[in-house]
Symmetry: C2
Subunit: 442 residues, 2 copies
């Protein structure tokens, strides 16, 4: 017979652990258990992330969630906990067409207090001489690929990177220190739905009874029913696996994203590209987004390699209930060669010759296909959170605070994000969803 | 080598056939093919519907879609085509609590021009003497089931029923008559995605190419690639099956609904209940919705039986990609006995003794889990429609007009619904969805 808990959190990724941390901080006497299928924390999609953070969004919701979370992370790191945060900045390289298309969004961001800098072409060329800004008329590849000449760039100095595993371990350590409990290697097999006033009859809950979520059946280090007053589903891309069988839409679909790394060790040009004095105090190349397919380059100087990837919405399948083992989703070196590499070398010819990645991996974005903004919703005895849609880690602190507030105050509550901004729980639900759509999708 | 078409419609349910009909009417020279997996038209969930129509919605969108469609159906039937329409009315029996909860919605409906009548308790008792309106304090069953005493009713005289198969066959006959083509026993195996400017290289479309939907691969009576300028996905609850593999969310999840029938043949009380002079000119019991679990009773006089069912949102699983054979979803007589029957006999004691249904079947509602209002969205070369959420048949005409308009005018178009009301395509998409949520869910 397993122990009962006040709160049971399913998933020890960065979201689940942020939820557990904030729940424990604000409800210190409550018994909280985090359940994780894998053998350790943050080993699913948290570990597979591009691990970047930015405050550049047009949606007020995205901005509030990301900016408050990033400020919290910065504060934690400032207090001496290494979260691997580096404020390298984001450099969005754009064509003339893209620049003018995006100018209204830039203005909206500035109005919202987001610091951005516009680089015109000559300043950009000076700051990043390795960038190829103009394709010769005779360049057949760029013509076939419909690559646009570079018109300039937008720089977001407050953006940068962090280490999601370190962040998750911070939440975890604090949660454990405060008396929280975690069990690994333990799968939530199904959610227990029962009548709020059970009659002890087979077949309950009947449709004429009020049903509530009463916990989860576990298998692994703990086996059997674990009952909880509140069950928090924060299993990311696997939300549907538990929620659909009880008639609740998990509101996420997975989409594979592949990451490739290129070593700069034996290539003096790439080694030089890694360091750049024009954008930040760190002597680091900022996170660069190219004008085609959102192809990006992340310079990781401590590894002496670049992480590169690109965007491929259409034709990359959605997965409703992914396989339990995320390792089954593989990156394909041909995908790199035919897609990423061709864009990369066109705009940054220093990558020429690096047609094979030295490392690669795949992860699944957990998309909220409606508006790509995360959600938190309540059912009787249950709180579900997710839908990071590729930017969940940089919003995880705010999401944890919202889930905790949903627990304490219910649907009508208003969470206090880090820094003091209020955020109404209802904005994030689906019954009266009121989030602002993100316009700045390049 | 299969023939090419201008438009290919996947699904010969009532929605697909309405789309095909309106597309053919407005684009008479276009070659249109409807593809259906089953051996005949309207044999999937269309045939399993409760087959009721109503104009009682608070959402302006629901109202426009349903009312214009019902008016169209009425007009068709008026012109001599039997669609099995009968204006029996809907009688929503409610407790005092429900009546006052719903009064604001009643007022909104009246403001929107929807005809409703309020029955107070004494008028209701007189009009429907078979109804048990008050439970004795000693009645343990009603106490356990938390059944509320009846406080009155809301009557919608413009509501009623129709025969969805006849409706589908009307669309089909007109479509065929105008030169459209249908193929049965033929499965759409996958959607063809290709580059809009193919290079003839393996691996296309690459991420740097613009991708478009170019048709469907078929298996059955027609085999192989069938190419089309536009592919319309109207496969109801099976939308995800084709759309997810190409990275598009089908935005539907199935949920089983079970229907049970009770014969009135050898029961004089039930035979009497079937006829009622208080609500309509047809001497027919209106469609009655009881105060618990939306348990409903549909009197089908020509069959001398009642169709009965109830609502069970939580704990009835969502199905993302249902099995191809809808017959695999079975109704369970125990579900009737333990759930429907108990509510039924409590409010309508004439059903006492009918604890076994004489017929039963199950179907899947195709829910748009976001707001339960249908959608139409476009991708390059594709139009997807669906999300009827249990009221798709009564909106099928409007949906067909919207799909046709999306084909002719694209995302920025405005469809003309039957009767002349304009309806903007964008309201129904997901990029800038602007539908009004339905509040009147009892």
């Amino acid at each position: 017979m397993a122990e009962d808990f006040d709160i049971l959190v399913v998933g020890a990724g960065v979201l689940g652990l942020s939820c557990a941390y904030h729940l424990k901080v604000n409800n210190p006497t409550k018994k909280i258990l985090v359940v994780e299928r894998l053998a350790d924390a943050a080993q699913g999609n948290t570990a597979r992330s591009a691990a970047m953070v930015r405050n550049m969004f047009t949606s007020r919701d995205n901005l509030m969630l990301a900016e408050s979370s990033i400020n919290f992370y910065r504060n934690i790191q400032g207090s001496g906990v290494d979260l691997g945060m580096k404020q390298t900045g984001y450099l969005w390289v754009m064509s003339e067409r893209q620049l003018s298309l995006n100018e209204p969004y830039m203005q909206k961001m500035e109005k919202n207090g987001i610091q951005i800098e516009r680089f015109d072409l000559s300043r950009l060329k000076q700051a990043l001489p390795a960038l190829n800004t103009e394709f010769a008329a005779s360049d057949e590849d760029s013509r076939l690929m419909e690559l646009e000449n570079v018109g300039g760039a937008i720089f977001g100095p407050k953006c940068g990177r962090l280490d999601p595993e370190k962040l998750a371990r911070f939440f975890l350590a604090e949660f454990l220190e405060k008396g929280g409990k975690v069990v690994y290697g333990t799968e939530a097999k199904r959610i227990i739905v029962e009548s709020s006033k059970p009659l002890g009859v087979e077949g309950e809950p009947f449709v004429w009874q009020e049903a509530k979520i009463a916990g989860v059946v576990l298998q692994g280090e703990i086996n059997g029913e674990v009952r909880a007053e509140t069950t928090v589903i924060a299993s990311g891309v696997w939300n549907n696996e538990l929620l659909e069988p009880i008639g609740i839409d998990g509101h996420v679909k997975g989409k594979k994203r592949q990451m490739f790394t290129i070593s700069a060790r034996n290539d003096s040009r790439l080694a030089a590209l890694m360091h750049n004095k024009s954008f930040n105090q760190l002597d680091a190349l900022p996170f660069v987004i190219l004008p085609k397919s959102a192809c990006f380059i992340k310079a990781v100087d401590e590894e002496a390699r670049f992480w590169v990837a690109c965007d491929d919405d259409l034709n990359q399948p959605y997965v409703n209930v992914p396989e339990p083992d995320i390792e089954n989703y593989k990156a394909d070196p041909r995908y790199y060669e035919e897609n990423v590499y061709r864009i990369l070398k066109a705009y940054l010819p220093d990558f020429e010759g690096h047609s094979r990645p030295d490392q690669m991996w795949a992860g699944l974005y957990s998309y909220n296909t409606l508006d790509s903004i995360p959600f938190v919703f309540l059912e009787n005895g249950l709180i579900a959170a997710g839908g990071g849609s590729g930017s969940g880690i940089m919003k995880a602190d705010a999401m944890g605070r919202i889930v905790d507030c949903a627990y304490r105050q219910g649907e009508d509550g208003e969470a206090e994000l880090y820094g003091g901004t209020g955020y109404k729980i209802k904005r994030m639900g689906f019954k009266s969803r009121a989030v602002e759509r993100e316009e700045w999708v390049i």
